[in-house]
């Protein structure tokens, strides 16, 4: 439906009452001067983007890009590529100085190729002023040494997802926000034989999300603010000792869990509390056989533990414009255009909650009121945590995450293979290697 949006209707309706409800209507803006980006004559832009979650995502995105192309008499081509391929294609593009003008990558992507991409500070300042400021996660992934190198487009978080009826049976209304309470909940679930389960296997998304939650919520971190490895700390040991008590309450087999395992176990009713992105909820909601489970499901942030913020690093879409592009103004103008309310809000709504906004003003989007269960994702980008927290985002932080340094530290303790002290020391040894040449 959403791809019916045209520039004319959008203008005629003043950005309100669009197909998917009331796009843009509630979005408060502040006066701001757009940067002067004269679009190059006869520009042709090529953009690479990760594939959609849902079809309307792609439709609205394409429609927005085509509208921009028509307005300026240029050409815009968008290619959607698989998630696993984005990093490699970005690397090839950066190393060969050829290929797409714009790549929307994930998380740290732009930081690895900072010298190969254009400064985005002017655009980011304009958008930030106009739409109530950038959220903390957007600042973490978009900025490098006080200048913007990328435009974050949204993030997808991983809250706790649980069965309302099961928690009630165990004597809980919701997931407690402290460690002791969370442990009590998991023990109670084990007693009624409807256990919790969190991935401790080599699962890029879920494994890292759980390990990071565990360490961060106890005050630990992989690196300190300067980027020195700080994982072998008292906080980490506390976290691992806590895990030793928590792990026996899990459903069997979580050490072998991949990214898909907890989705399957939860959908089959084998596991009643886990941590996952919004996709699990929607896949159950769209399956008539699993709909009752979806209706019994609730999603809340993972416990904060010792912190004031939710220790979860959302998977972030991060757009970069390459220096080899012959049309940098057009590229930056296109990205700015896509972030404006007339384009961004319909896109946000088309994604029904898979992506959460980087700019504060979009918190008012109708996306977050349609289904109260997905409201938990609204503030994904308010959590100031990223892969490699607390240090700067570097090659090292990317490699340490991809090589499961934190996950395997936790799994070694959970399986009884290593003491917390030994596991933390081993993680420190591996991390030191990855951070040995800091940028």
């Amino acid at each position: 439906m959403a791809h019916l949006i045209t520039r004319r209707t959008a203008l005629a309706l003043g950005g309100s009452a669009l197909v998917a409800g009331t796009a843009g209507a509630q979005i408060q803006t502040q006066p701001a001067t757009p940067p002067n980006l004269p679009i190059e004559r006869g520009a042709t832009l090529r953009m690479l983007r990760p594939v959609r979650f849902v079809q309307p995502d792609q439709d609205v995105w394409n429609a927005n890009c085509q509208r921009f192309a028509q307005q300026h008499g240029i050409e815009v081509r968008v290619d959607f590529v698989g998630w696993e391929d984005i990093t490699q294609q970005t690397a090839v593009t950066a190393n060969t100085n050829a290929g797409p003008d714009i790549i929307i990558g994930f998380n740290a992507g732009p930081h690895l190729f900072a010298e190969k991409i254009h400064d985005m500070t002017d655009v980011a300042d304009y958008l930030g002023t106009k739409y109530g400021g950038w959220r903390p996660l957007a600042q973490a992934y978009g900025r490098r040494q006080n200048r913007w190198i990328a435009l974050p487009f949204g993030a997808s978080g991983g809250p706790a997802i649980w069965r309302t009826s099961t928690l009630r049976e165990a004597g809980f209304d919701s997931v407690p926000d402290d460690h002791a309470g969370f442990l009590r909940l998991c023990q109670a679930l084990r007693r009624i034989n409807k256990p919790a389960g969190f991935a401790l296997g080599n699962a890029v998304g879920d494994g890292n999300a759980f390990a990071e939650w565990l360490i961060w919520s106890h005050g630990g971190s992989l690196t300190d603010e300067q980027g020195n490895v700080s994982i072998n700390s008292r906080e980490t040991i506390n976290a691992l000792n806590y895990l030793r008590e928590l792990y026996p309450t899990f459903v069997q087999g979580t050490l072998a869990w991949g990214d898909i395992s907890n989705n399957r176990a939860y959908s089959a009713g084998e596991c009643h509390l886990t941590q996952n992105g919004v996709s699990l909820y929607f896949s159950m909601l769209n399956d008539p056989a699993l709909r009752p489970i979806a209706e019994d499901t609730q999603m809340t942030p993972m416990p904060k533990g010792l912190l004031n913020a939710v220790p979860n690093a959302g998977l972030t879409l991060n757009a970069m414009v390459f220096r080899h592009s012959r049309f940098p103004n057009a590229a930056k103008a296109l990205l700015t255009y896509l972030m404006e309310a007339e384009q961004y809000d319909p896109w946000l709504q088309a994604n029904i909650g898979y992506w959460s906004q980087p700019l504060n003003a979009y918190a008012a989007s109708a996306t977050w009121t349609r289904d109260p269960k997905i409201a938990v994702f609204r503030d994904t980008m308010n959590n100031p945590f990223w892969n490699g927290y607390k240090g700067p985002i570097t090659e090292g932080s990317v490699a340490a995450t991809a090589d499961y340094v934190l996950v395997q530290m936790c799994a070694a303790v959970a399986s009884g293979q290593a003491t917390p002290q030994a596991a933390a020391a081993e993680a420190e040894r591996r991390a030191t290697r990855y951070f040995r040449r800091r940028g």
Partner: protein, 318 residues
């Protein structure tokens, strides 16, 4: 009478061949021309990637950044890396156990198939199935069979009342190692069985007849006829099998990704994990290069130790 006719004057002088023809008559030139495509292909697709891989092992290249020459720093790090040594141990263990299993079962199967059975051809075709199915498919099948929650084996055992809980196939180190070896054996048997069956069929029946006349027992016939006659093909098949097993990647990566806690990493999976997802191309290449000595040793061992001529002919070694 004189010689009435003068001897005909032979005017046809052999024409000097053209420069092109002479060029093509030149043996040295022909050798070069005929070999060039092959050499070119080998250089482009074999030597260059291999050389690049070896070169990368001595650099700190990552995905996205050019490396600089760092000598043997990667190897020095690996020498102190318990995860690497665990991968070396498991690669050797995996290869050894799986090869023994494959050959024991494969030889047995080949001997059975060598008997006169009804529907022999059909049976042989069926035996080949595990080998024909793409490894990734069989790996996914085993991934489900070993799933901690949804394993069909666990389900069956629980339904039959033999167990209360799911079987721990890949959740702890040693069960995971044995499970992967079992999957590899299952996949490798057909190759061994069919190759050895071909070998068995070349053994002349007259040898067995002679042995029967001498009153040899079945074990003696196997020990003194079948086994020695099979040795040459056994050596070749074993060489291939060891190489395939040692460099196995798909089964392990699809089923456990090297987990739990790196206990089932083979050198090949660890090289990939460090090199591509981890982005440390240099270190990944170093792990891959570290596989070469093992492969050379295994190949030489199985080739020279098993292919000794005298042994093949049933004599003792000097």
């Amino acid at each position: 009478m004189s010689t009435a006719t003068a001897a005909p004057v032979w005017t046809k002088v052999r024409q000097q061949p053209g420069a092109l023809a002479r060029l093509f008559d030149n043996k040295a030139f022909l050798i070069v021309v005929c070999l060039l495509p092959a050499v070119g292909l080998l250089l482009t697709f074999l030597t260059y990637p291999l050389g690049l891989g070896v070169y990368l092992a001595f650099t700190d290249q990552t995905i996205g950044r050019r490396g600089i020459w760092i000598g043997i720093e990667n190897f020095e790090f690996l020498a102190e890396d318990p995860i690497f040594w665990n991968a070396v141990f498991y690669s050797v263990f995996y290869t050894a156990v799986a090869t023994v299993g494959k050959f024991a079962l494969g030889l047995w199967l080949a001997l059975l198939l060598n008997q006169h059975l009804p529907m022999k051809s059909l049976l042989r075709a069926i035996i080949l199935l595990p080998w024909i199915v793409p490894t990734v498919l069989s790996a996914i099948a085993f991934w489900w069979i070993y799933d901690p929650q949804f394993s069909i084996i666990s389900w069956m055992l629980i339904e039959l009342g033999l167990r209360e809980t799911n079987v721990d196939f890949i959740n702890t180190a040693w069960p995971a190692r044995w499970s992967l070896i079992a999957a590899n054996i299952w996949r490798g048997i057909p190759f061994v069985a069919i190759s050895l069956l071909a070998g068995l069929q070349t053994i002349s029946p007259s040898l067995y007849e002679a042995a029967l006349l001498d009153g040899a027992t079945p074990w003696q016939r196997f020990r003194h006829i079948t086994f020695p006659m099979l040795m040459p093909i056994l050596a070749i098949v074993m060489t291939f099998s060891i190489i395939f097993t040692f460099t196995d990647f798909q089964l392990v990566y699809s089923i456990t990704r090297g987990g739990p806690v790196n206990s089932t990493h083979l050198m090949a999976t660890l090289a990939f994990q460090r090199g591509i997802p981890g982005g440390q191309l240099g270190e990944g290449a170093a792990i891959a290069v570290a596989m070469i000595p093992f492969l050379v040793f295994a190949t030489l061992f199985s080739y020279f130790a098993l292919a000794r001529r005298k042994w093949q002919q049933g004599e003792s070694n000097d």
